[in-house]
Assembly symmetry: C2
Homo-oligomer: 437 residues x 2
């Protein structure tokens, strides 16, 4: 970057892939970044900026001339442009960019800005190839070549009638292999899978994964074309959703961010969960308090509190993970839910029976006390059945109630199962001590 000749520097830069340039760009210091702004046209920089973390981009914009920013935004894929504009917090700054951008593009941007986050509308692009149904193959190819420069993908053609209603689709491959005089309307595939702009992006991802689509059309209720979603954006959605599932599971928010941020920010994000769990944990302590007399009468009971709570927690974690993944991959459909819960109940019973027999043996070896061994075994059997069901049913109920299933996180299920298992164990012990001993 010390090279003074701008032209050589530019050419060298542009020989790299935009993704690599974006990775290098974020490592630059201020003067180096200004040099990049001076060397590259807004159009060239736009390709690089498409690969940046969009939350950072508004900060870089502040370093640039407003006209440079406007040209850069115009040159970007419109879906990426909208994502970036969504990250600009100051309304005045946003307005200053929009006021000097091309009016046509601004109109499209305003249309896209209205869709809610994480919906099909929010990730679609309006730059697609639209072919009137009455064209023949030769005319269609001519229109495709004319529109190819701006379109995000040219590999699927969307066939529309005069009202922009989606009538069919056709791949570029089919177009290339067709004869010049054939009519598009006869060649096109009429069974089109399309999505509504309000559909959750995760559903869109499942559709594209299952059907092996490279792009999917987004339509309104009357089947008018609004835009398309391309596979590169869906790959990012799948990645994001996997992270979200993980966050739910681990009881943390914004896992990506946690990875990069400083320890104070990180602690601040993790503490609310931990403090909530501490209070819940203290409820368990208070509960154990009620069993103080029992524990004093039979101190050996205390030794097995952690193992029973631990086993309940582990079983609950397993069934929670299976259920959350099942929900994420659409394997659980509404009809089968009851069947699935029944299956998990039986699984819990089997796991509980096997584990409690082994636990009985181990306690006998450790303590040579058949009453204690039986108590531990029954407590494990009961806790595992309940814990397994808690891990299964909690996320299902959350989804049903439209509550954020983040509440059914691993730590929450663990702590809940601690409470259940200790109640069963010590309740049972108290009853036996009072009744028989």
């Amino acid at each position: 970057l010390k090279e003074e000749n701008f032209e050589i520097f530019r050419e060298e830069l542009l020989s790299f892939h935009p993704f690599d340039l974006a990775a290098a760009f974020i490592e630059l210091d201020d003067p180096e970044r200004y040099k990049v702004y001076n060397s590259l046209s807004p159009i060239e920089l736009a390709k690089i900026f498409e690969h940046l973390d969009f939350e950072l981009v508004p900060l870089y914009f502040e370093e640039m001339n407003t006209f440079y920013v406007a040209s850069l935004l115009e040159a970007m894929n419109i879906d990426d442009c909208v994502d970036i504009l969504n990250n600009i917090e100051e309304k005045k700054v946003l307005a200053s960019y929009l006021s000097i951008m091309n009016k046509e593009i601004v109109k499209e941007i305003r249309g896209l800005l209205q869709y809610e986050e994480e919906t099909a509308g929010s990730i679609m692009t309006t730059d697609f190839i639209e072919i009137p149904i009455n064209l023949d193959v030769k005319q269609a190819m001519k229109k495709l070549v004319e529109d190819a420069v701006d379109a995000e993908t040219i590999y699927t053609l969307y066939i529309v009638d005069e009202n922009r209603k989606l009538m069919g689709i056709m791949s570029l491959r089919e177009l290339i292999l067709a004869r010049a005089h054939e009519t598009i309307g006869d060649l096109m595939n009429q069974k089109v899978v399309s999505v509504l702009a309000s559909l959750d992006q995760e559903e869109v991802a499942h559709i594209m994964r299952d059907y092996d689509f490279l792009s999917v059309p987004v339509v309104d209720y009357q089947d008018h074309m609004l835009g398309i979603i391309t596979i590169d954006d869906i790959v990012d959605v799948i990645d994001e959703e996997a992270n979200e599932d993980y966050e739910k599971f681990a009881g943390v928010s914004d896992i990506e961010d946690l990875f990069e941020s400083n320890p104070f920010k990180s602690a601040k994000q993790r503490l609310p969960w931990l403090i909530a769990l501490l209070f819940l944990g203290m409820v368990i302590s208070t509960l154990l308090n009620f069993f103080g007399d029992t524990l004093e009468a039979m101190v050996d009971l205390a030794f097995f509190i952690p193992v029973i709570a631990g086993m309940a927690g582990n079983t609950g974690t397993q069934s929670l993970a299976i259920t959350i993944r099942g929900l994420a991959s659409d394997d659980i459909e509404s009809i089968k839910k009851l069947k699935y819960i029944m299956k998990e109940a039986v699984t819990g019973l089997i796991i509980g029976l096997v584990t409690s027999v082994i636990a009985f043996g181990l306690v006998m070896i450790l303590k040579q006390d058949p009453v204690l061994a039986l108590l531990v075994a029954i407590a494990i059997l009961g806790s595992l059945i309940v814990a397994n069901l808690a891990g299964t049913v909690t996320p299902l109920v959350m989804v049903k109630l439209n509550v954020d299933p983040a509440i059914a996180s691993g730590p929450f299920i663990q702590t809940l199962n601690d409470l259940i298992s200790n109640s069963i164990y010590l309740g049972l012990a108290t009853w036996i001590l009072n009744t028989y001993l």
Copy 2:
């Protein structure tokens, strides 16, 4: 399916998307399946079978005539064909299919069968568009049209020299927009990102996600073209890997399978983990045993065992999840590991300090015993720092040692942290009781 006229039945069937037909196919009973085999040509059925779970396909093959199977396999995408053949366990059956298939295709299949599972080689296809470097645009377009029927994608052209060495790539879009007389060698992009056949499929997925590729070339050490990997297969890889991360985290194996299987199979898969954890849990009980005198002297101590263990477990779960996701998304690179561990150590300290102060207050309210409150607070501080580091360091060490990081699962970290936290808590209590009280 009651319709007797095969022709109408066929046409109706084929108007649906293969994915929908595949979903319907697995619900059919035996006579219905035989009817499908009789109605559809192997080529038509091949498109449907590409969307089935490949583990099930060999069972359906047993219901068909060997020649029908051979034609069906020939008509499939070669990468899917290889995946299915990999699932045929009986060598004799496999040989019987290969012996009557087209010799050219069998040769390619044998080449692909040699790659190890989960490598680039195992998911690539050999059906791609290869263009000699010396052709002009018009000749290249002619070759593309000739090869288009068999190719899995025609949207990226791979430019090779006379030895099939990869010299550059060009998109179909660029080809369409170029002038007829220009030479491919001048137009092509020479900076090509390619992968070796031995590369892990997860690495391939990251490359395709980061660079927004629709396909990536697979080469040998001398840059000769071996095949290409297309985005639809990568979407499946990303999904699979997310499941694998989940399995590690939850301490279960083959989470997809667990979702569908019967409770006995499910219990059988989950029990080994749970039994291992039961033994580990009993180690904790034995440890507590050593502190029997301490507990008898101060029964109140026992009430806080679960909350301390729980907090250590929760903190460890959080840092484990963050680290595993960081490893999965390549955010952790080798140089930054020490820095990352240091950051997590500081985070653990902050979390520990805040939580222990609150815990001190809560125990004071519950028990009005400053010694006990101080004991609980110090135990939480110490356990949280250690637990947080255990969740961070364990998966990093596993990866470093090339051990399957499945061992660093959530339940394992939980149980390990139970052990650590209880040792700190009761060890400290014993020392204070013996020294000061």
